[in-house]
């Protein structure tokens, strides 16, 4: 691995990556090609767009053209979905190389991956699958994250999972596990509040209590998304992390409380299927911006309402 070329890549481009500090954390949405024309007409000022890394791992063609077009005007977040960081096997070296190439090429503001696995035994399952939390899996996850961070020469944000099952063999709580990963690897965290709410409902714990224990000081990005509801074996709600509808009131409420506690953070609205027209997605992002603005400047907010 050639250290010198990788570390200087950002400087050579001359592009500025300074985040918009001050008034509020930037807000973003999933980037879908269907929305590109509408974004050009009425975009997301000072915002950012997030893409799934794997969709841009082809050699060329329209996907890269669309991503380059949005990169002209906006900062990017590259969100890996398939690295299988939580898997027991070695990381896929070819996939890691593609990931590094993408990060080098598009110089995103944020880079993230999941605490989950998706490949095993030569098969790719296209889902974010759960893992037991043990000393052994902790070591393995840390090794994988170190490997990714070494490859891309920057820390990643690790996303907390939404889960439907747990493992009898787990010996560590999810929060303890995540905290230990942060301490050992220096990675940051992508806090997905919808995932917290989904998991809390599915496992019968308090989302607020989970957030109380979460290493909030390491959160570099927040995800918001919609979920759908099924029924479990006892005919009680089983929430699915579906990203196919508007953010629920419960998730907005958790978000509002969180921002009041930790201040603004880059916040991204995920919407991956059953896509709305761009204005509807934009409105969700602007709602997040509004919440951050209210928490940041309560007095100004009062004054403008009074006037």
């Amino acid at each position: 691995m050639n250290d010198s070329t990788s570390t200087t890549a950002v400087c050579e481009s001359g592009r500025s990556h300074s985040m918009t500090r001050g008034a509020h954390g930037p807000v973003g949405t999933s980037f879908k090609h269907e929305h590109l024309a509408a974004i050009h007409v009425d975009g997301l000022k000072d915002g950012f767009f997030e893409v799934h890394a794997e969709n841009y791992m082809g050699a060329g063609g329209p996907p890269h053209r669309a991503l380059a077009a949005i990169r002209e005007d906006y900062r990017l977040s590259i969100h890996g979905v398939c690295m299988s960081i939580g898997g027991p096997g070695a990381l896929d070296a070819a996939h890691l190389a593609r990931f590094r190439e993408l990060v080098t090429r598009y110089e995103p503001m944020l880079v993230s991956e999941h605490l989950a696995w998706s490949s095993h035994g030569g098969k790719f399952f296209n889902d974010l699958l759960p893992l037991p939390y043990t000393k052994e899996t902790l070591e393995n996850v840390c090794e994988h994250i170190n490997q990714v961070q070494e490859a891309i020469k920057r820390p990643i944000l690790l996303e907390n999972p939404s889960t439907y099952v747990a493992f009898a063999s787990s010996t560590i709580s999810e929060n303890e596990f995540i905290r230990a990963v942060v301490q050992r690897t220096g990675c940051g965290l992508l806090l997905d509040i919808n995932n917290v709410f989904v998991s809390a409902t599915n496992h019968g714990f308090s989302a607020e209590a989970y957030l109380d224990e979460f290493p909030l000081e390491h959160v570099g990005e927040i995800h918001l998304a919609g979920h759908s509801e099924q029924r479990d074996d006892e005919d009680e709600p089983l929430l699915i992390d579906s990203h196919d509808c508007a953010i629920s009131d419960s998730v907005w409420s958790l978000y509002r409380d969180l921002v009041a506690r930790i201040g603004p953070r880059p916040t991204m609205v995920e919407w991956d299927s059953n896509l709305p027209a761009w204005p509807a997605l934009r409105t969700q992002a602007l709602s997040a911006r509004q919440i951050m603005a209210e928490q940041e400047m309560p007095l100004a907010g009062e004054a403008s309402r009074a006037g």
Binding site: E54, N55, M57, G58, A59, G60, G61, P62, P63, H64, V81, C82, S84, G87, P88, G89, A90, D92, A93, H95, W117, S118, S119, H120, G121, G122, K123, F124, F125, N126, D127, L129, P130, L131, P132, E136, T137, E139, N140, Y164, V165, A166, F167, A168, S169, N202, H203, G204, Q230, R231, D232, D233, E234, L238, I240
Partner: protein
């Protein structure tokens, strides 16, 4: 690559049931106290199967339109379970699907379906292929006419030839869009050239001998060799028309003169 020191147990136990509904939930997989785990594990089974069927539907929209959604999803479900992806890049998935369609019992009355699928697969490969300039007529004109027979062409990464004994190009074109489907009376063989202009993938129907001609050029044969085999296959093979067609479609990125021994 270094050896991993963690036991594979949890993934080895969790994975098989994802694509095989007859396998029960692994012992270590649990729900909250007082809750059963079956429907919860089934969320993962469902996510895997449905998302991979969706992935095939995204690669093969014309096939889904021809067969109808229910037929397509049933067919795709068999394939997904028998042949899950090996790569996390889903746009690479489904290369074996046309061959699977050929063996799929319920698709036997649609013998042209597999070739139509092959055009769709080539379409997606062209869509994601590398961006390179296309060979222009001007560049070709610079070749000394004396050397023309020895000329070889560098394939453009988007270029693919798909041959079919069925009117696969017409079937593809009619079903790839939302436009009306009209009865197809022709049963002629149709060969396709798939390429990409700057903005869109092109599927062109090749004239007689064209597929043989282009396949040979794509594999590195000289122009003289390719013309000879094309004429052998189709005495009506028109060199000028085929050269013009391959240039305007952008099938090649460069040209060089190299004598074959």
């Amino acid at each position: 690559m270094r050896a991993e020191n963690v036991s594979c147990g949890y993934a080895t136990a969790f994975a098989p049931g994802l694509t095989d509904p007859s396998i029960t939930v692994p012992e270590d997989v649990v729900a909250a106290p007082g809750k059963r785990v079956v429907k919860r594990y089934n969320v993962y089974r469902n996510n895997v199967t449905v998302s991979l069927i969706d992935a095939l539907a995204a690669v093969y929209p014309a096939i889904q339109r021809i067969t109808g959604v229910d037929f397509f999803r049933a067919m795709a479900r068999f394939h997904v379970r028998a042949t899950p992806p090996t790569s996390p890049l889903l746009f690479e998935y489904g290369r074996d699907f046309p061959a699977f369609i050929e063996t799929y019992e319920y698709a036997r009355e649609m013998p042209w379906l597999a070739d139509t699928a092959r055009i769709e697969r080539a379409w997606l490969d062209a869509y994601h292929a590398a961006d390179l300039p296309v060979l222009t007529a001007e560049a070709l004109a610079e070749i000394d006419p004396v050397s023309l027979a020895e000329t070889r062409f560098r394939p453009h990464p988007t270029a693919r030839v798909v041959r079919s004994p069925y009117p696969a190009v017409a079937i593809f074109a009619m079903n790839r869009t939302d436009g009306p489907v009209t009865p197809l009376r022709s049963s002629e063989a149709q060969d396709a050239l798939v390429t990409r202009t700057e903005h869109e993938v092109l599927v062109s129907r090749l004239p007689d001998g064209g597929a043989t001609f282009l396949s040979h050029l794509l594999e590195g044969a000289s122009l003289g060799e390719a013309v000879a085999v094309a004429l052998q296959e189709a005495p009506s093979f028109d060199i000028q028309a085929n050269l013009a067609g391959m240039l305007s479609a952008g099938a090649f990125t460069g040209v060089h003169v190299q004598r074959g021994d």
